[in-house]
Symmetry: C2
Subunit: 339 residues, 2 copies
DNA sequence: GTGAAAGCGCTAACAC
DNA sequence: GTGTTAGCGCTTTCAC
């Protein structure tokens, strides 16, 4: 394997390598006579020819490789994105390179540089910070790059994400419908678009219901259980009454429930809570988590399609696609306690 | 970016491209005078030179890319493996290509072929079937390949996995210690090494405790909740009494618990059950799952190290490494019911 | 429709 | 120590 070169095929078919190349290249196969094409194809099959993509890439500066940049693959929301992207890319004859930055900016920068050196044709980036110079650079250079899940302040790059606004609105409406009025938001980090936008959406939804938003938003430092627990601790320290919590995501919700539980405040008896993302097994907890389901697989697939379009044609309109989300009502929400 | 070539650096430094190449290549930098090295390095930094890995690879037939072949990235046990491998590889200056075969053999075959065409230096394979002609081919060709998590019948390739035998033995011992005697095993598919070896280990452990193994093993068709539920249904259909179940993995255990629960048989009141893998959130279920913790991140890292060794030197001894596992006792195991 | 020739960016032999 | 030369495997002008 890897031993049969185009020259060998050409020799076997009794043609010039250039002709063999044309016969095997769908784009220019028309320039070659049918008979020759047949002969070359037969030879290629017979010898088990596998084109050397490196050599092709060196010549065409096209590698048919796309890279997916992920902050942390062990966070359960990313695997479906990877999967969706991988499937679309593979189907299109592309190879997916995965890089896990461990949420570190320097790693991200060096990885992106190295991948470009490897000649990748484009990036799908799931690590976007709200202010992200690295992505601004890519945008400026016109290097094919699609943002997924999180976007930047400067929306110069196409983006595919879930409809955060709608998701939060559904949560607030559901809680209000159950009779809650003292609702607080454990927000995500403000250096992520999801953190910011969910918080904005929360305030907007509260206002729509003529509820005060004063002192109702507590920012968590990360999308983790630890940060959620810390947020809940700060919430309790305030001694401001609340009957419901809209958490920025499932992990934050879980952490908050843990912390509140340790303080003897239990859900759904004492308060209601909603998550976001509907990670695996959220339906199997006790109580099962009411949360917002986001179509992550579709998100990855969609982002991959956008990237392929860009690579094939020219810079796309930097559209921001919002995929519809849905509220999944389970056991962590109910009527507010009567005291 | 990607515009600065070695020639440009050489011109800037006033040397021949070959000299610049040597100055920048750690392996042969000694053949160049210190002064020249300095000058070349300075020029490279100044111009922002990034070596073109494709061109280098074409010349050296080394791409510094390793591929990880995964059956299904959305199965929560694989992300940590990916992460562990990615970290070791990245640190060594390698790039990781991920491919998700969706558990389909044809996809796997075509992906592996395509990746070899892309010039990857080696594979880490997590999809091994018990009989796997594709892997036998790679082994025969001496292509650097390390198996992770699952291995093949013909152990011609190095393998890094968890200590399945020990894990199952711990489960059985724990259950026996609680007083269980009627223990059954919901086994994994027999076309995986984990399925076969856990079942073997189960039988061995039972015999060690002088317990009969007749009719105690039921094979599930896959490592999924559905298959677990189907296995539990077959178990109930037998009408043979049991007080404990050793499930081949967490998903199978969850599926079984669902199916048994629907039939009014609940855990831990009516029976005990153990899982395997300790996936995320298994500690948050009700009851929390007693299971075997497997060091997946370390597994991925270890496999990557083995691969790097192979790529750097020569074919390693085809050693089989077993990483230690530990039993995590939680709520799904207890004393058998008294009737 | 096909062949000839050049070259993508880099590195390994071989000179000097 | 450094320059010269050649070539990795492929594609793409340019002739014919």
């Amino acid at each position: 394997m890897q031993r049969v070169r185009l020259v060998d095929v050409a020799r076997d078919a009794g043609v010039h390598p250039a002709t063999a190349s044309r016969a095997l290249n769908p784009a220019v196969v028309g320039e070659v006579s049918q008979a020759t094409v047949q002969r070359v194809r037969r030879s290629a099959d017979k010898l088990g020819y596998v084109p050397n993509t490196l050599a092709r890439g060196l010549r065409t500066s096209r590698s048919y490789v796309a890279a997916l940049v992920i902050p942390d693959i062990t966070n359960a929301l990313f695997p479906p994105i990877v999967r969706g992207a991988e499937q679309v890319l593979t189907e299109a004859g592309f190879t997916l390179v995965l890089t896990d930055t461990n949420s570190a900016t320097e790693v991200e920068r060096s990885q992106i540089a190295s991948l470009r050196a490897h000649g990748v044709d484009g990036f799908i980036v799931a690590t976007a910070s709200w202010h992200d110079p690295l992505l601004d650079e890519l945008a400026t250079e016109g290097f094919p790059t699609v943002l997924v899940n999180r976007r930047c302040a400067t929306s110069a790059l196409p983006f595919v994400g879930g409809d955060d606004q709608q998701g939060v609105r559904l949560c607030v409406e559901h809680l209000v419908g159950q009779g809650h009025r003292d609702i607080v938001h454990l927000a995500g980090p403000s250096n992520t678009s999801t953190g910011r936008e969910r918080a904005d959406a929360f305030r907007a939804a509260m206002r729509d219901h003529r509820l005060s938003v004063r002192q109702t938003v507590i920012e968590c430092s990360a999308y983790t259980e630890q940060a959620g627990a810390a947020g809940a601790a700060r919430l309790m320290a305030r001694r401001r009454p609340f009957t419901a919590v809209v958490a920025a995501n499932d992990l934050v919700a879980l952490g908050a429930m843990d912390a509140l539980g340790s303080a003897g405040v239990t859900c759904p008896r004492d308060y209601s809570i909603t998550g976001f993302n509907d990670l695996a097994f959220m339906d199997k907890l006790t109580p099962a988590l009411t949360t917002v389901r986001v179509p992550f697989t579709e998100m990855g697939a969609h982002a991959a399609r956008r990237l392929l379009e860009w690579i094939a044609d020219q810079p796309p309109t930097a559209t921001q696609s919002m995929l519809p989300v849905e509220l999944v009502v389970r056991g962590t929400t109910g009527a507010p306690p009567v005291d």
